[in-house]
Amino acid sequence: MKMKTYLILCVIVAAVVASSVLFIPGVGDHMEQELLGFLSTNARG
């Protein structure tokens, strides 16, 4: 993949992820719960 195409893809992916977290109800909460679970599991380990 050419660098220019790759960078455009990165911008699009970042925009989609950020919009999903901000505007789709429950996505942010779900991600935070997953992150919390990951951190607490690894902190115990």
Partner: protein
């Protein structure tokens, strides 16, 4: 071969980008909320009655795991432990003996260096308080004992006096204005 390596690296970059953007967005989103989330600092505490009256009997906080703490400079809020000892309430901030810890818990540095004005929210009620750092003294024995009994924390008075854990009293606002 080089093209394949480039493609693999680009894929790894994309896979790292997704959680990085998600975490940054979550942090930004939470910073505008009324109060913190479990992981990220929040904004100004707005909801809830602002308590005005005599100093409460803080023993009710013995059954409260965490409270929301808002400091004014910079305006942000976070979840912290609450410790009641001899009728006064305190909060603890660990990992302060290391540079990384001070970066992570930079709010405590701001609270120590700033005016110390704070608002806490417990069970939906907001209380104006003044953060006063306690660096030494016999009160630390009771605070360390409460940390051990309530949170099973191994923090000792020596840890606190060495600066590894910072303790702030949540004093009434008038006390801390120098009266």
């Amino acid at each position: 071969m080089k093209r394949l390596l480039t493609l693999v690296l680009q894929l790894i970059g994309l896979l790292l980008l997704v959680p990085a953007v998600a975490i940054a967005t979550l942090r930004y989103d939470t910073s505008r909320n009324d109060g913190p989330s479990t992981l990220f600092p929040g904004g100004e505490l707005v909801a809830g009655e602002l308590y005005r009256g005599p100093e409460p009997d803080w023993q009710f906080t013995n059954t409260v795991g965490t409270i929301e703490l808002q400091i004014s400079d910079p305006l942000s809020s976070r979840l912290v432990w609450i410790l009641e000892s001899e009728g006064k309430i305190y909060i603890a901030c660990g990992y302060m003996g290391t540079t990384l810890g001070r970066l992570w818990k930079h709010w405590a540095v701001h609270a120590d260096e700033g005016d110390g004005h704070a608002v806490i929210r417990i069970n939906g009620v907001r209380y104006e308080r003044q953060l006063v750092r306690i660096e030494s003294g016999p009160a630390l024995d009771g605070i360390a004992a409460k940390m051990a009994s309530k949170y099973r924390s191994p923090t000792s008075r020596a840890d606190i006096e060495a600066g590894n854990t910072w303790i702030f009293e949540l004093a009434p606002p008038t006390t801390a204005s120098g009266d």
